[in-house]
C-alpha cells in the first residue's frame, strides 16, 4: 500500500525526522493562503499523487509570492499529471503540499528496502541524491552504501556514523545524521514498511539535515495490525477494478490488451498472460481467483473481466487443486447465465474433479469452447478474437 508524500512526512515528523514547514491544500486559493501563512520568501508547490516522477512531469513548482503559488496550483490541478509511472492518462491532482523553500548545500539519498539474500532490511545511503536510485545502482553501484538493520538492535549509531562519514558528511553532522537514520529505521520496522525512500535527503547551507521528499510503501500483509496506516489509504489513487477485486478476495490487475484472463494461482496467471502474448495477442488483465475460491468469487471474477470494455474474448485457465473444477464450472455458468455472453469464451480445465467440471460446462448449453492444454486454449482464444 502506498501513501502520499505529505502523509509520509507526517509520520517522519512524529518520529523525530526533521522536515520543512508545509501546508496541505486542495485548491489554488488554499495554496495562496498557505504561502502567506508560511511567511517565507520561496516556497514549493508539490502535487500529491502516488506516482513518482512528479518533478519532471510538471507537478512541482517553485513560487515566490502568494499570487505565484495560486498560479502554480491552478496549473498543476488543471489537468491530469502524467509521469513515467502514471501511464498515458495521468493522475488527477486533488491535493497539494505547499512547503517552505530552503537553501540546499548537498543532496543525498537514504532508503530502506528488504534484502532477500540476507533476509534483513537494508539501509542504503548515497551521495547521489535527487536522482533515481535505480539509475545510480546501475551506473555507480559503489556509490550506494549499505548497512543491514538487525531486528534485535535496530540501526546502531556506529552503523549510522560509518554511512555519514563515507558519504562525506563532516563530523559536526554525524550526530544529526545518526538521529535521522535511526528514526527512519524505527519507522520502517514499527510501521511494517516494505520500502522507505528519502530522496533527496538535503543538507542545508545552515547545517540542517532534512527530508525534502518522502516515499513509503507498506507491507499489505501487515495492514491488519496497522490501523493508523490503513486510514491513510487514498482509494482515488487506485484502479477501481483492482479495488473491486480486493473486496471480492481476488487479485486483479488491469493491463492494456484485449483478452480477459481468469486463472487460479499467481504463477499460472502470469504464465497464461505470457502464452497469450506468445500466440500474438495481449492480456487485458492479470487475475488470480486464489486457491480456495468459491462459486461466488468465480462469478465475481468473471463479472470484473466483463466490465472491462477492452475485452473482446475471455480465456479461463484453471488447474484445480484446492479449487475444484466443479466449483469453477458452476461459478462460470452462474455468471454467464446472469450477464449473458456475447464474447468468445475458451475454457481449459484440469485437475481435481475435472470430468464433472467439464460435464457441467457441456450441460449448460452455453457457447463455451473447451481446450485441452494451455497452448490449445491460447491458440483458440487468439483465433476467435482475431475474427471478431
Amino acid at each position: 500500500m502506498k501513501i502520499h508524500e505529505y502523509q509520509a512526512k507526517a509520520i517522519l515528523k512524529a518520529a523525530g525526522v526533521p522536515i520543512l514547514e508545509g501546508r496541505v491544500v486542495h485548491s489554488a486559493k488554499g495554496a495562496a493562503a498557505a504561502f502567506s501563512e508560511l511567511g517565507c520568501a520561496i516556497a514549493v508547490v508539490k502535487a500529491q499523487i502516488h506516482a513518482g516522477g512528479r518533478g519532471k512531469g510538471g507537478g512541482v513548482k517553485l513560487v515566490r509570492s502568494a499570487a505565484e503559488a495560486e498560479a502554480a496550483a491552478t496549473a498543476i490541478m488543471a489537468k491530469p499529471l502524467i509521469t513515467y509511472q502514471t501511464g498515458p492518462h495521468g493522475q488527477k491532482v486533488k491535493t497539494l503540499l505547499v512547503e517552505q523553500g530552503c537553501a540546499i548545500e548537498r543532496e543525498l539519498y537514504a532508503g530502506i528496502a528488504l534484502d532477500r539474500a540476507s533476509k534483513l532490511p537494508v539501509l542504503m545511503v548515497s551521495s547521489e541524491g535527487g536522482v533515481e536510485i535505480e539509475v545510480v545502482a546501475h551506473s555507480h553501484p559503489e556509490k550506494i552504501l549499505k548497512e543491514p538493520i538487525d531486528p534485535i538492535t535496530g540501526l546502531l549509531p556506529s552503523q549510522a556514523r560509518r554511512l555519514a562519514k563515507e558519504v562525506g558528511l563532516p563530523p559536526a553532522l554525524w550526530e544529526k545524521a545518526t538521529q535521522f537514520l535511526q528514526a527512519l529505521c524505527r519507522v520502517y520496522v514499527e510501521k511494517d514498511l516494505s520500502l522507505a525512500e528519502i530522496n533527496p535527503l538535503v543538507v542545508t547551507k545552515d547545517g540542517q539535515l532534512l527530508a525534502l521528499d518522502a516515499k513509503m510503501n507498506f507491507d499489505s500483509n501487515a495492514l491488519y495490525r496497522q490501523p493508523g496506516v490503513v486510514a491513510l489509504r487514498d482509494l482515488d489513487e487506485e484502479d477501481p477494478s483492482e479495488i473491486a477485486g480486493q473486496e471480492a478476495g481476488i487479485t486483479y490487475i488491469s493491463l492494456d490488451g484485449n483478452i480477459g484472463c481468469l486463472v487460479n494461482g499467481a504463477g499460472l496467471a502470469m504464465a497464461t498472460m505470457d502464452i497469450i502474448k506468445l500466440y500474438g495477442a495481449a492480456p487485458a488483465n492479470f487475475l488470480d481467483v486464489g486457491g480456495g475460491a468459491t462459486k461466488d468469487q468465480v462469478a465475481k471474477a468473471f463479472r470484473l473481466i466483463l466490465a472491462d470494455p477492452k475485452v473482446t474474448g475471455i480465456l479461463i485457465n484453471i488447474f484445480g487443486g484446492i479449487l475444484r473444477c466443479t466449483t469453477l464450472a458452476e461459478g462460470i455458468v452462474a455468471a454467464v447465465k446472469e450477464t449473458g455472453l456475447s464474447l468468445p469464451l475458451v475454457v481449459r480445465l484440469e485437475g481435481t474433479e475435472v470430468e464433472q467440471g467439464r460435464q457441467i460446462l457441456r450441460d449448460s448449453g452455453l457457447a463455451i469452447t473447451t481446450a485441452s492444454t494451455m497452448a490449445d486454449a491460447a491458440e483458440k482464444i487468439v483465433k476467435a478474437t482475431a475474427k471478431a
Binding site: R116, L255, G267, F286, G321, M374
Partner: protein, 291 residues
C-alpha cells in the same frame, strides 16, 4: 531415493482449522505418515483419527515427528515456526499465505541466533511431495507419479501444470518442491537445485521461476558452477508490467531488477534449456534428454 521427504517422514500438523483439517485428511489419504496434530487445549484427544497435542514439543516427544506442516493463520506463523524449531523439528513446511514480511525477518533472525538447523520450505507455498511416499502440503496428489525428475518452483498451480505435463508423458518425479511466492523464503532455488544435484534418484530437473528478486540469477550461477544434470527452466511473468505486484508478494519488477528477460538470459547462459511456452515444459525436457 528422493530429497527431504520419503515414506519414513513422520509429519506433524500445526494449525487444525478448516484448511488444516482438510489437508491433513488429504495427506493421510495419500499415504503420508501423519503422526500428530497440534491444537492447544485439545491435547489428549484425537482429531480426524490423528492424536492431538497441546504443543509441538509434546507431540515430538510422543510421536517422534521430524517434519511439520504449518496451516496456522498468518498472524500466528512466527510463533509456530519458532515453536517447531525449539521442539527439534528438522523440516518445517509453511503453507500459510500473507505472513507479514517483518515477522519472517524476525523468524529467520531468531533461527540464526539459535544456530538452528531446521529447514523451512515456504512460506506461501504448496509444499513438498515425493510421489507415492509422502505428500506435505496442498498439492493434488493424484497428478504425480514416481520417477526421475526433480521439480522446483515458486508457484503452486504452475508446478501442478509442469507435473501434469510430465505425468501425461509417462515421466515421473523424484520430489517436487514448491518453494513459495514470498520475498523471504526458507529454501531457495539454489538450495533445491543442490539437493536434486546430490540425489542419485534425480536424473533431470525442471526449475520454474517468476519475476521479482534475483533468485533465478543466483540459481543460474549455481547451475553453471555445480549442477551436472540436465535442467529445464521456465520464467513466468515475461509480459508483466513493472511496479505491479503480480499476486505473489515476491513477484514484482522493481527498480529495473527482477525482469523475466534477465533471468532467462542468465539461465540460458548457464546451459539451462528454457521453455518459452509454459505448455511445453515437459516437451522441452523430453527434447533435451533425447539429444
Amino acid at each position: 531415493m528422493s530429497v527431504l521427504v520419503n515414506k519414513n517422514t513422520r509429519v506433524l500438523v500445526q494449525g487444525l482449522g478448516k484448511a488444516g483439517r482438510f489437508h491433513m485428511a488429504q495427506m493421510v489419504q495419500y499415504g503420508t505418515k501423519v503422526v500428530a496434530g497440534v491444537a492447544p487445549g485439545k491435547g489428549g484427544t484425537t482429531i480426524d483419527g490423528i492424536p492431538a497435542f497441546d504443543s509441538v514439543a509434546e507431540a515430538v516427544k510422543a510421536t517422534g515427528a521430524d517434519a511439520s506442516v504449518v496451516y496456522v493463520p498468518a498472524a500466528g506463523c512466527l510463533d509456530s515456526i519458532l515453536e517447531a524449531d525449539a521442539a527439534g523439528i528438522a523440516l518445517c513446511v509453511v503453507i500459510t499465505e500473507g505472513i507479514p514480511i517483518s515477522d519472517m525477518v524476525r523468524a529467520f533472525a531468531a533461527l540464526r541466533l539459535r544456530g538452528s538447523t531446521m529447514r523451512i520450505i515456504g512460506p506461501n507455498c504448496p509444499g513438498i511431495i515425493t510421489p507415492g511416499e509422502c505428500k506435505i502440503g496442498i498439492m493434488p496428489g493424484y497428478i504425480h507419479r514416481p520417477g526421475p525428475v526433480g521439480v522446483v518452483s515458486r508457484s503452486g498451480t504452475l508446478t501442478y501444470e509442469a507435473v501434469w505435463q510430465l505425468s501425461e508423458r509417462g515421466i515421473g518425479q523424484s520430489t517436487c518442491i514448491g518453494i513459495g511466492g514470498d520475498p523471504l523464503i526458507g529454501t531457495t532455488h539454489v538450495d533445491a537445485l543442490r539437493l536434486f544435484n546430490d540425489d542419485p534418484a534425480t536424473e533431470a530437473i525442471i526449475m520454474i521461476g517468476e519475476i521479482g528478486g534475483t533468485a533465478e540469477e543466483e540459481a543460474a550461477a549455481f547451475i553453471r558452477k555445480s549442477v551436472r544434470k540436465p535442467v529445464v527452466g521456465f520464467i513466468a511473468g515475461q509480459t508483466a508490467p513493472p511496479g505491479k505486484r503480480m499476486g505473489h508478494a515476491g513477484a514484482i519488477i522493481s527498480g529495473g531488477s527482477g525482469k523475466a528477460a534477465d533471468k532467462i538470459a542468465a539461465l540460458e547462459q548457464a546451459g539451462v534449456a528454457m521453455a518459452t511456452n509454459p505448455s511445453e515444459m515437459a516437451a522441452t525436457l523430453v527434447k533435451l534428454l533425447g539429444k
